[in-house]
Assembly symmetry: C2
Homo-oligomer: 224 residues x 2
């Protein structure tokens, strides 16, 4: 049984290496442009061996997403246990920062929403769906709590907030800003967390009546 367990460990390690390569290649090139040949070459094994572990390219992507969602769940757990983050909105911001840093680190797999065969494969993947629902429910709870506390606008349907948070994690704006080379990663994260939670407006954009005074008051509290 010791040798069997050892074999399984080796197998797991290899599969982990595969999924990590897939994750990075998905982040770099996206699903459509990533080829299975590349993955095999990157891992250092033959393509046919890959197909012994994963039966299709879609399953490779699903495995990468499962890995990401597991990391996300771990990050969420740490945030939940962080005593310095008391308000639900602070926790949501921490989640946003985490996802943005993942993307800036080149570790955010990019799956096109329009590929229907990929969508079907993901919807049929139990491991993926379970984790996705778990993360969504956890965040959904924080969102409604934040709305009840007046920290997130209660007029927004919770799913709008949830989708918005998910989308900001994959926002191409992150990559565009990084490409200019004018800002540090930390600055990019703070800028975009700010636009996500406070918007680009000065605080009175939708209320022409009382704008200038409120804008002046709010500006002082912004990061430099």
């Amino acid at each position: 049984m010791a040798r069997l367990s050892f074999r399984e460990q080796v197998l797991r390690a290899r599969e982990d290496a595969i999924v990590e390569s897939v994750n990075r290649l998905l982040a770099e090139k996206g699903f459509d442009l990533m080829t299975v040949d590349e993955v095999a070459a990157d891992v250092g094994i033959a393509k046919a061996s890959l197909y012994k572990h994963f039966t299709s390219k879609e399953e490779l992507a699903a495995a990468a997403m499962v890995r990401l969602l597991d990391r996300a769940q771990a990050a969420i757990g740490e945030i939940a246990g962080d005593a310095s983050l008391k308000r639900p909105v602070d926790r949501l911001q921490a989640v946003a920062r985490w996802t943005m840093r993942v993307q800036l680190a080149g570790e955010m797999p990019a799956l096109p929403a329009q590929n229907s065969t990929l969508r079907a494969a993901l919807l049929a993947n139990r491991a993926y769906m379970d984790r996705l629902l778990g993360v969504s429910e956890q965040l959904g709870g924080w969102i409604t709590a934040a709305q009840a506390a007046g920290e997130i606008r209660p007029s927004l349907p919770p799913e709008v907030v949830l989708y918005t948070l998910f989308a900001r994690a994959c926002d191409p704006v992150l990559g565009m800003l990084k490409a200019t080379g004018q800002h540090s990663d930390d600055r990019i994260v703070e800028l975009l967390v700010g636009t996500c939670f406070e918007g680009v407006g000065a605080g009175a954009a939708a209320e022409p009546a009382a704008r200038s005074s409120a804008a002046g008051a709010r500006r002082a509290a912004e990061p430099a």
Copy 2:
């Protein structure tokens, strides 16, 4: 010369039909999943005939983008001439609404930012680059004006605002919300314009000190 001009008109009409088909197919499936065969079938001509008009798939996409940017420039011109939109931020919001409606109408071509051959083709396309720069400069002027007037946060680099506006036009959140079928198109647009300019926060998310009173005051002005 009359017959020659007529012939040219016919040619132009056919190319317009091609570009319109490309635009719609790009919106539906994105660049990678759109095939030239589909385009030809959709227009009702042979694939070889397509290649007499456009020398590559990338040029087809570029032509669709030129068409979109021309429409955008026209919309911007109308907004600039609208007397009811006096503040720069109102004009920027109008632009955001226009782009979101284009996407909800299924007319927003989706070009993956990761495809480098496509990027190279676009960068080398004079007609595309000219229009892109024209639109960017026009919007950039409104952004700095809005910042000078205290309508857009001056602490944000203008390019962050510009990229954010561009990105919100292509935001997958629009499609996700439409897919739920729970909101009208107009409501989706207003919700997302709101998150873009005001954020999801209640107005005091970044300032824990004085949060509850400000949040209550702002909530009354929000759309139902």
